[in-house]
Amino acid sequence: MSLLRINGLGKVYGKGQAYTQALKQVDLEVNKADFVAIMGASGSGKSTLLNLISTIDKPTHGEIWINNTNIAKLNNAKADSFRKNQLGFIFQDFRLLDSLTILENIAVPLIIQKRKKIQIEQRTEEVMDMLCISKLRDKYPYQISGGEKQRAACARAIIAEPELILADEPTGSLDSNNAHNIMGVMTEFNEKLKATILMVTHDPMIASYCKRVIFLKDGNIINLIERENNAQNVFYKIIVEHNSKLQQVI
């Protein structure tokens, strides 16, 4: 069942000499409980695509449908509400609020949704237990490691049970060990919680955790591969292969 449908999406920045076409004509469909990686070189348009889906940027043309709503046409207030209720975010640099404890940081999406306090408390405890970060509850972001920070950021992304989780290079600031841990967490989100995840990465190993990988080049989707029943290491090799071809083309 389709959750996200993108038709003829394009984005142009600047005018005259500064004219840049970041996305040309992108069509994409993501099903519920899908786990999709977007790969591509710098400037290929992957971050632009993520920004358009997260409604923090407006497309020049095209449509983005999520649950029968064309989010490309939403005004600011409706876009705020959409992000608040339907999306979860994981960033490369974690972006936890230094002034709040880990528990408070995780609870922020529910606080913004103005959920009942008892509900927030229960849900926060539940998510922290799930990610094994209960012991960090009273610590501040500057008191914990990068891996722990990203776990907390994952908890914040999942706590409001969003329709779609958008992750922008979630392992970009982590060592390989922590990166694999975080991907384990995201796989668990996808498999156990049936969360739909759209992730931007440049690392084939990280992409191999996903069910599908989309390759972007010069603002166009040039390839899409499915993991199907392949083991992760096999899928990894396939991604590397495709990526190498892409590099050669470049």
């Binding site: 923090i56 407006k58 509400s81 975010f89 960033f91 972006r95 709040l100 949704q113 408390e121 500057y142």
Partner: protein
């Protein structure tokens, strides 16, 4: 970046815009203020109507206060601007650049900014000097006195002050660059991970806070209850001891109040109703910021308290001295004598004031009525010379004859009092706490055995409190007894003064000359006093005086009152600007630092309006916390003032003016605060809007 485009001073200014603007404002205010006291200033250069002797030291003290506050503001801004550069500096050091080269670059940058802002600041200062001089001359003389375009001495003072400031601050920053490790420099800009404060220590701090306030209260009570007559001087050693202790206690109390507010914020944040509410975003940020701003808040609170005092107490005290002058100067001419320095009772002269009368006649001062007031020791044992007096401030209550007393009453426009045979009455100043006298005299009859005569209390009128001026009482006393003349004749004379009313108001300059002539004539007539007691160590002793002419007092006091009010308001404005600038700079910097947080919150669904509201609440707290603390401390100081002068204030102002003197300035300060908050908030809102627009478009 250091080393790129260094020649372009405008880039350097853009990078340090807050420092640049602060310097210009400070230089303009400093020059404008110093020019007020410049020896070439027409205001100071003397005038036939006024004597500027009292004005000059006052200006000087104000200059010290203004200099210190400007120093604090500039060093605060400078240290912030330096912190902004620390990361860049430490990266350059890590990459191997010579520290000395970085230091030279930094100093050059600061020098170019300082020099340019000095030139602009002086230009604004000339305008500021014109404005301040015009306002003061207008309210003093009723017309604008032409002002000099340029004051060389003020310019030199300003340049010296700012060179010292530049040198000092640059030296400190260079030392940091030269000696600190790159890692230390990098960490210098981070909010410290504060050490955990144990509950026991928090409890100690709470107790210490309560102790500080109790200490302040107790000391104020003791200070104002030591049974002295504060119409006279409080011994300086006693006063300094209490005032220093209270001052230190206030500083400690403010510091601890701010710390405990932080504990309260953390405590509140841990409660469920806050923890899972939107308010956690505000309170979390507040407690986070409070860790690093305790000293800053302390400073702002102190400066704001001084601003409040400048705005309200100084003009009030000026008004107070106006009213007090009306009260103490009942007679047009007062020539009091005092025996404070005479060791032998037989040396107290029975002065013949004929020489005063001659001088006044020669000066064409026509006397309407006069009194040579003789006052006596009730008992000879009341006399004690300075060498045997236990406390040099303890002086006895004196007595006077009914004829002199009634003459004074007539001169003051009061009805004479009829004194029964062998009776006495008790006269007390009307601006002291009368309740204690009434309580002591209440019930029963009172009698005195004086010089072999038993005196009973006067039946028609015994306890009199009408105002006869301040100069008829013995030093440090506020009452005297009135005896029948024949009883007084048997007593030893303590002092004899001359009091007179003139037919017309005497010109200021004529009074000044007469004052000098009376002093000289007395010295010539009573040389033995000066020979025996005229020199006490390094201190030259006067036996008559201070001689007071109503014309001189009226002019001096009203002039001083105007100057004091103007200076008080100016000091208040400068202090207010300084602390508002400190809070505003901090709030702008914090807003910049929070932009990333706002972007994240915006991305996860918060509206721009909600984010602006968070920012506003956060900023309001940092404006209102020092404001509330300073209002509390101002109330303590205000209360001190009431305890010290309460009876006088009630007598002079009959309630209303006194109340207006406090409430109106507090309202003015609050309005300035609101304008400041509004302006700064608009700046912050624009900044937030622009940064969020960049995210969304």
């Amino acid at each position: 970046m250091f080393g790129t485009n260094r020649h372009n001073v405008f880039i350097v200014i853009k990078e340090n815009i807050i420092y640049f603007v602060t310097l210009i404002i400070c230089i303009a205010l400093f020059y404008g203020f110093v020019s007020l006291g410049d020896i070439k200033n027409p205001l100071v250069q003397g005038n036939l109507e006024y004597d500027f002797e009292m004005y000059a030291p006052m200006i000087r003290y104000c200059i010290y206060a203004v200099s210190i506050s400007i120093f604090i503001l500039i060093s605060y801004v400078n240290s912030h601007m330096f912190k902004e550069k620390l990361k860049e500096i430490s990266i350059l050091i890590t990459l191997g650049m010579k520290r000395s080269k970085i230091a030279i670059w930094y100093s050059k940058d600061m020098l170019s900014i300082s020099a340019l802002s000095f030139v602009i600041g002086i230009l604004f200062g000339i305008g500021c000097s014109y404005a301040v001089n015009a306002v003061i001359s207008l309210i003093t003389y009723g017309r604008v006195i032409s002002n000099n375009f340029f004051y060389l001495y003020s310019f030199i003072e300003t340049i010296v002050f700012f060179i010292i400031m530049y040198g000092g601050m640059t030296a400190i920053n260079i030392i940091k660059v030269m000696h600190k490790k790159p890692l230390e420099l990098l960490n210098n800009n981070k909010i410290p991970d504060s050490k955990k404060v144990f509950p026991f220590w928090k409890l100690i701090e709470c107790l210490l806070l309560m102790g500080s306030y109790s200490f302040i209260g107790y000391n104020l009570k003791v200070y104002f209850s030591i049974g002295r007559n504060y119409g006279g001087n409080i011994p300086s050693y006693e006063s300094n001891k209490f005032q220093f202790a209270i001052f230190v206690a206030i500083i400690i109390a403010i510091y601890l109040t701010i710390k405990i507010v932080n504990y309260l914020l953390i405590w509140i944040k841990n409660y469920k109703f806050v923890k899972y509410d939107m308010s956690v975003l505000v309170i979390g940020k507040l407690s986070h910021r409070m860790k690093s701003v305790t000293r800053n808040m302390l400073l702002v609170s102190i400066v704001l308290t001084l601003a409040l005092c400048g705005f309200s107490l100084i003009p009030l005290m000026a008004e107070f001295s106006n009213e007090y002058m009306e009260h103490r100067m009942v007679f047009d001419i007062n020539v009091p004598f005092n025996y404070d320095n005479i060791e032998d009772i037989h040396d107290i002269p029975d002065i013949d004031y004929g020489f005063v009368r001659n001088i006044l006649t020669k000066a064409n001062i026509e006397i309407e009525n006069e009194c040579e007031l003789e006052e006596y020791f009730i008992w000879d044992s009341d006399f004690s010379g300075p060498s045997v007096r236990a406390n040099r401030y303890d002086m006895p209550r004196l007595a006077m004859g009914i004829t002199d007393y009634n003459q004074l009453r007539i001169m003051a426009g009061l009805e004479p009092i009829n004194l029964d045979f062998d009776s006495f009455l008790f006269h007390v100043k009307d601006d002291i706490d009368l309740a204690q006298f009434e309580e002591a005299l209440n019930g029963g009859t009172h009698s005195l055995n004086v010089a072999g005569t038993l005196l009973r209390q006067n039946t028609s009128c015994f306890f009199v409190t009408e105002n006869l001026g301040d100069y008829i009482y013995n030093t440090n006393t506020d009452s005297f007894l009135v005896f029948p003349d024949e009883v007084c004749e048997k007593l030893s004379i303590a002092k004899k003064g001359y009091f007179a009313n003139t037919v017309e108001k005497t010109p200021y300059a004529v009074c000044k000359n007469a004052d000098l002539e009376i002093q000289n004539a007395f010295e010539e007539n009573y040389t033995y006093l000066y020979d025996r007691y005229g020199n006490n160590g390094n201190q030259v002793i006067d036996f008559i005086g201070p001689i007071r002419f109503r014309s001189i007092e009226e002019n001096d006091i009203s002039f001083m009152a105007i100057i004091t009010k103007a200076l008080g308001m100016y000091i208040g404005i400068i202090f207010m600007l300084i602390c508002m600038a400190m809070v505003s700079i901090k709030n702008i910097i914090e807003c910049n630092n929070s932009i990333e947080d706002y972007r994240v919150l915006r991305q996860i669904g918060m509206s721009e309006k909600q984010l602006k509201r968070i920012n506003m609440k956060e900023n309001l707290f940092f404006y209102l916390l020092p404001y509330a603390v300073s209002i509390a401390n101002f109330c303590i100081i205000q209360n001190t003032f009431i305890m010290r002068f309460g009876n006088r204030a009630n007598t002079y102002f009959h309630g209303n003016q006194y109340l207006n003197g406090i409430i109106v300035p507090v309202i003015i300060v609050s309005v300035i605060l609101v304008i400041y908050i509004g302006t700064m908030q608009i700046i912050n809102f624009n900044k937030i809007k622009n940064s969020l627009d960049n995210v969304l478009e």
